[in-house]
Each structure stands twice: as C-alpha cells, then as structure tokens.
Symmetry: C2
Subunit: 456 residues, 2 copies
C-alpha cells in the first residue's frame, strides 16, 4: 500500500484550536433551560454558582457566542496529548473489502484512556482560577474520575472522587490510577456524607449507583468551603470543551481535502458525540453543508430511540436541576452491561433538541454485536477499543458493508473515544461466550417514564 | 509557554526508517557467537533454523551489513502506530526547575503497551513469508506475549504463548488481551509438553519460571510441523528490529537541530536499550560523535553492574544455545520485583561487548526509588509509565537535578518504553507504602555465578 493520504493525519501543535465552538449559538431552537426543581423556574447564574465554578456557569448559560477562547494554560496541557490523530482505517477497509473510506478520530492516546480529559482539564483550570481548594465528582466506569484526577494533579488541586461501590470493588486498577494521581477515592454510598448514611441505613449492603454518588459529591462540594462539583458529561459546558475533538477532525479533513458523508458517535450523556459532531453540525445548522449524523446507543439504555423528550432529574437523588432531554426516567436502572460510560438514563439537552429537530439520527447496538465489532477492530487496526467506542465501530462497519453491496464510496468518520485496558473483565466474558444481551421491555420503560416529575 | 520546539516532535509517515541499523557492522570487537551447548562450537545457520525462521537466522548471524531493508508489509504495519513521538518534557523540566533539556521517546502508544511490537511484527512477517503455520513463545510480565499476539493476528498466524503460571493467575487481564487477539495462552509449567510434565512431577504446585516457559515453547516449536520459536529480547535480530526507535529519535533530533548529550535506557535483556541507542552508538563507534550512554538495571537483578562476562545459558532449562554475556548465572532467581521485563539473569551479547569495551556505562535503581519517579512523572507529564521504563525516568530525573546544581544545560534523552496499565498491582503496593527493596547479597550472586557452564 502506498496511498497519498497517510494512515494518521496529524495537525501541527500550533493548529490546536484556539477556541472551542458552541453549537447553541447557531441553533434556531435553543436547548431548554435547566429548571430549579423547587420553583420550577430557570436556574439563575447565582443559583448555579453554589454548585459549579463561576466561569463554567457562564459557559453553561452562554447561547450567543459561537467561539469561546481556550486559555493558554489549557492549550499547553492539550499539547501533551493533542492534536489527537485522525486515522484512515486502511486495514479495516481492506479486510472488509469495501469501497467506503473509513476514518476515526482516536481520543485514547492519553493515560486517562478517553476523551474525558478534554473537559477535565478545562474544569480544573477554572476551579484553580477561582482560587478553589478542590473539586468533587462521581465516577462509574472510571474514565471521568481518572481524567479529573490527572487534571487536578496538574493544577495541584484536591480531588475527591465518589466511585460507585460495585465499580470500586470490581475495578481496583481504575481506583489505583486515580490514587496514583493523588485523588481520594471513596466507595459510594459512604459514611462520610449525610445522604450516604441515609442511603446505607435504608439499604444496608447496597453496592451503590451513579445517582447516589452524584448526590454525595454535590453534598461535599456545597458543604465545604473552597470546593465545587464538576461533571463529565450531559452539560453544555462539557460539550463545549469536547468540541476540540470535532474541530481538530474537521481541520485534518480540510488538510487532506476530504469531506465526510456520515459521522458516527456513541452516545451516553453526549460528551463525545456532541464534541465530535460540533463543527459539522454547525455547518449543517447554518445551511453550509450536509452530513448524515448517527448517534449509537446501547440497546440496554436507549434514551434517544425509546425515551421521551421531557423535563427530568439528572440524578436518582433528585437534588440536581431538572433538564429537558430524551430520558428513560431517572428511576430507570439500566442492565449491568459493560459500557459503563453509556449507562445514563438521559441525554444532553443540546443533543436532545437537535435530535428532536431532525438534525441527527439515532440507532442502537446490542452488547454481543458491539463486542464482536470490538474484537474484529482490535485484530485489524491494532487498537483495543473501549466498549463505549465499540458502539460506533459496530455501526461504522455495518455502513461500510452496505457500501460494499451498493458500490458507493462513502466517507465515514467515527469517534474512537477510548481504549479498553480497564474493560478486560468484559472482554473475558465475551471470549468465554458468557456475554448476554439485555433489552428493557416496553413495560419496564413505561413504568419508569410514568414517574417523570410533574413539571412537564 | 510558547517555545519554538513543540511538545511532541513527530516525523512524517514517509520518514519511517526504510532500513534497520545493525550496530555489529560498526563494532571492531564483534559480539561472541552463540555456542552449541553439546559441541561447544559456534551454532551454524542450519542448527539455528530448526528453532528460528530462516530469514531471522540470517539476521542473527549478519555482522557485516550496517543496514537491512525493512519490508513494505512491516512498514505498513508500523504506520498504524509509528512514527512514535519524541517528546520534549517541558512540564517535567519546569517542575524540576532544571536548566537541562529533557526528551523522551515514547513507545507506549500502541495496544501492546510497549516497544515489543517493533520486533514482534518483524518476526511474525518472516514466519508468514516462510509459509509457517504459527509461532511459539513465552511471556512473563506479558508485554512480549501481547505484542506477538497482535502481530500474529495481523498476519493470520497461529500464536501459542506459554505464560509463567504465577503471572497467568495474577495478571488475568494480560491473558485476556492475548486471547482477544486470538492467541492460545497456556500457564507454564503445563501438562501439554514433556518438559512441563517432568517439571510438574519434580516440583508439584510450582508457579513456574521464565526459563521453564522458554523450554516448553521451544519443545512445541521443534516438535510441531510448521512452527518456530520466537523471542522478544536478548537476540541480535531483536536489537536490529528495535533500532527503529533510535533511528526515529535521531531523525527527530536532526529535524529540530538538537544533539543529545546523554542517552538513558532501562536494561533487562537489552531490546529497548539496544534499539534506542543504535544510531547514536553507531556514530560513537565510527568516531563521528560522542554521547554518554547509560544503562539502568534494577538493583534486584544487576547483570551489568554485578555480573560476570562469560558464556552462559539463556534459559534455566539449559536447552538453548550458550551466549557470552554479562550474567548473574542462569540459576539466579531475581527477587519478585515489579519490573517483570527486567528480571532476566543475562544481557544481550552485543550490549555486553559494547559495555565491556567501554562504550557505555551502567547503573542500578532501587524499586521504591523507581516508583517514586514513576508517580512523579505520571503527575507531571500525564503518562502512567511502565515500571521498566521508570528505571530510566529515575536516572533522567537525577541527572536533571545534577544539572540544576551545576547550572549545566545538558540535553537528556531517555526511552519511555511503555505504559503501566497492567502494572497497577505494583502501583497499589507503592500507594499503600507496602513496597520493598530487595538486593541480592554478594554470597547469593557468587553462588549462582559459580554454577556457570564449564565452557568458559
């Protein structure tokens, strides 16, 4: 093989984007505002700044500025692992014998193992700028907690992570990475918070949930001088920071003179998908170009494809603001599948609005099909993908196979959000033929959606 | 910070070396030949080709060609993860407040997590070219086994890995990566080989050793039609393939007009060190330039610094050819430290000769000092290093601190051979303050060296 386009298209470091792109500025229908669950009225900046850093609150509420400058300190940190490569999947194309041109933007080349670091470093930076002592957060699968630990180590900030107890016990290596970066990691629910003690009293022996861990992290942030709470997905600010993925991908495509026909991303809370598609969606919103944009969610947690577009709580503790989004209900407990990063009952408000307005499609993938694609990809392209990312791989492979049938030379871009080094329990299950597929019944979904807050 | 030299110096893909560099061609004193343990005479190509692939035997014995062309298929594979970045450690320099300029060549950006893939893909290629069905090997820490599994998956070759039983049980994730790449992984000693059954009968309940795993892998290769044995370190052919590391590093330095003063690499069997220093050592051998070259070994397994330069067996089973090298005796059992890749009793014959002739220095590092450096580096530079690589980090940091004292602006290059994602048991011990330092006594070393074969 000796193609003109290299295997890996790298931008120069000086071409790391100088600004993040804010999709909301180009949306005719803005995403619905966060509501105060007590009053039912939009959350004010003042209300939000008790929980979040001030600058991040501004970003959360900013619907007008299309570009927001990336501070120099954050760009310097980005230089340690960015620009990330846009990879032409020559080997995959050859193996599939497809006329499609397949590209992926690889975000796994950093120790946190995923794209989460792009927003973690930004949130840590603004916390430091505000003179805070530290931040609190929750983590499930552990990608976000790891990324935040790294970011806090860099800015010498204290980092308190509440890790869902079952993950804390089953993923001791994830925990140790965070400890190596100096974070304190507490299994949740814990005796260290009021809400934790309450839950433990009511449910002795519980192995925890993301919703409970969020509640503990928020309590610690709001009860301790000099602390704020940070979150790795769902929020507008997170999508803003993650736009660096799409901006780099687009610049790399421009460099080689290629325009993708379709863009495929996995979707949990929306941090990766929203970042990957941002500048492409911008062109689409402004009527400058068209792209087919596909969100892929696990069949076990199908908020876009089987959820309802309504106001709901982001946490099961129901202490966070209400967000209007595609949701399965904050009471919905997804099956214990192995894509922990996609097991969220709702979806980013911005992406929900875009989906509602017809700017993107959504589809689901079953767990065993996802791992089949993951293993296939690993063997051919040499990267062991995270289960989350493998949802996008599955659909990219299926689309490339369709091109083989039709003879169309479509250009496919998908987001390879991270690596699977900490997901080998899942790979083991797959290798042993012990993996199952769980899909919620209509009755189950109806039951949790019936419990949506009355505000709607 | 806005320096002229970027954080990461990348070569273009077209600048991946077209040839490997063979240090032996420029050595006045060639490394001593491998000897047949039965006859005491140099191994012939014919004798070696019963165990190794034919083309690899040629490379093993080639002392005259300075450059050996890299086949196109191997270069294509290299393009999936190479050129690897030469990184300017700006953040580390700033944290150390040193006038030294620190660079590292990072080989961990591939799923095998280390530089081992550079030779694995070459060895798999030549096996495929020879029309073989598959290859056998042993693995201890698992980096080599993982790399070989990936290479065999790419060329559709069968891959049989004998994994030291204690690692097989303690590192289930390493095992699963190999299985995901389609390799069969057998805990050693096993009931599947004659030598394995013999050892199990003599030592019921043994948890195995690298020496035993080598013996089993060689037995399977020599008793099965269409199979050969491959090895990830020590051999001349491996150093040849690994020269791609040093060649890229040198080309990147040339690109920015910088010349390193000292080059630091960790040393186990010599695969990384020999590859990293190759072109620099070439200039030194030809009298064109001078560099300070430092090998760093674990204090628990100090073959350069406390071993003897003599003929010895490479395996504890004593079935492999004899190699002249710095050795602690094939009977020496290193303490159970956490740098599994450096726990070999001997050292590459080529590097041994160069050390013997005064072309390089060697030093040791204690385990707790190594992990202190590893954690420091992880927090500052954002990469979780492998314990093996962290030996080089330790000495690089110490040298940079000396520069702070003297005010010298030395340029330091060290090899960051891999990532520590599969070494978190070790990090956990360090985080818990439970890590110990074991250094063999003079009596212990004298006892194992006394058992060297009589050929010397």
């Amino acid at each position: 093989m000796s193609q003109e386009i290299p295997y890996k298209i790298y931008l120069d470091e000086k071409d790391i984007p100088a600004s993040w792109y804010n999709m909301r500025a180009d949306m005719k229908n803005k995403p619905a505002p966060l509501l105060n669950p007590g009053t039912g009225r939009p959350m004010t900046a003042q209300e939000l700044s008790g929980v979040f850093c001030e600058e991040l609150v501004k970003q959360e509420l900013n619907e007008t500025d299309a570009y927001i400058e990336i501070p120099g300190d954050i760009r310097d940190f980005y230089k340690m692992y960015r620009p990330s490569p846009l990879v032409r999947a020559y080997c995959l194309e050859k193996k599939l014998d497809t006329p499609a041109k397949i590209y992926y933007k690889f975000e796994g080349n950093n120790t946190s193992g995923s794209h989460k670091l792009n927003s973690a470093i930004a949130q840590a930076y603004y916390a430091k700028q505000q003179g805070l002592k530290g931040v609190t957060t929750e983590t499930g699968a552990g990608q976000w907690g790891t990324a935040l630990s790294m970011a806090c180590a860099y800015f010498d900030l204290d980092c308190k992570v509440f890790m869902v107890k079952v993950s804390y016990e089953q993923k001791p290596f994830r925990r140790e990475v965070m400890r190596t970066y100096g974070a304190s990691v507490t299994p949740s629910p814990s005796e260290t918070t009021e809400v934790g003690r309450k839950i433990l009293a009511a449910h002795p022996g519980t192995t925890g949930s993301l919703g409970c861990a969020i509640s503990e992290a928020v309590e610690v942030a709001t009860h301790n001088e000099g602390y704020r709470y940070v979150l790795g997905s769902v929020l507008n600010q997170v999508l803003l920071h993650q736009s660096v993925i799409g901006l780099e991908a687009k610049a790399a495509f421009d460099k080689i003179g290629v325009k993708p026909d379709m863009i495929i991303g996995c979707a949990g809370g929306g941090s990766n998908l929203g970042g990957l598609i941002a500048p492409f969606m911008g062109e689409k919103l402004r009527g400058e170009a068209d792209y087919r944009i596909i969100a892929v969610e696990p069949a076990s947690c199908p908020s876009f494809t089987r959820g309802t577009y309504a106001y709901d709580f982001c946490d099961t503790g129901m202490i966070c603001p209400l967000a209007k989004m595609y949701t399965l209900g904050s009471d919905f407990i997804p099956a214990p599948n192995h894509a922990g990063g996609l097991r969220f009952h709702g979806m980013s408000s911005t992406l929900s609005q875009l989906y509602h307005d017809g700017y993107m499609e959504a589809t689901t993938a079953r767990q065993t099909d996802v791992f089949e694609a993951a293993e296939y990809f690993a063997r051919v392209e040499g990267i062991l993908p995270a289960p989350e990312s493998s949802h996008a791989i599955r659909v990219a492979i299926d689309e490339a196979k369709k091109c083989k049938e039709t003879g169309e030379e479509k250009t496919i871009l998908f987001g390879l959000t991270g690596t699977g080094y900490f997901d080998l329990v899942a790979y083991e299950k797959y290798n042993n033929g012990e993996m199952d597929d769980y899909i919620p019944t209509d009755e189950e979904l109806a039951a949790s959606i019936a419990k949506l807050p009355k505000i709607n």
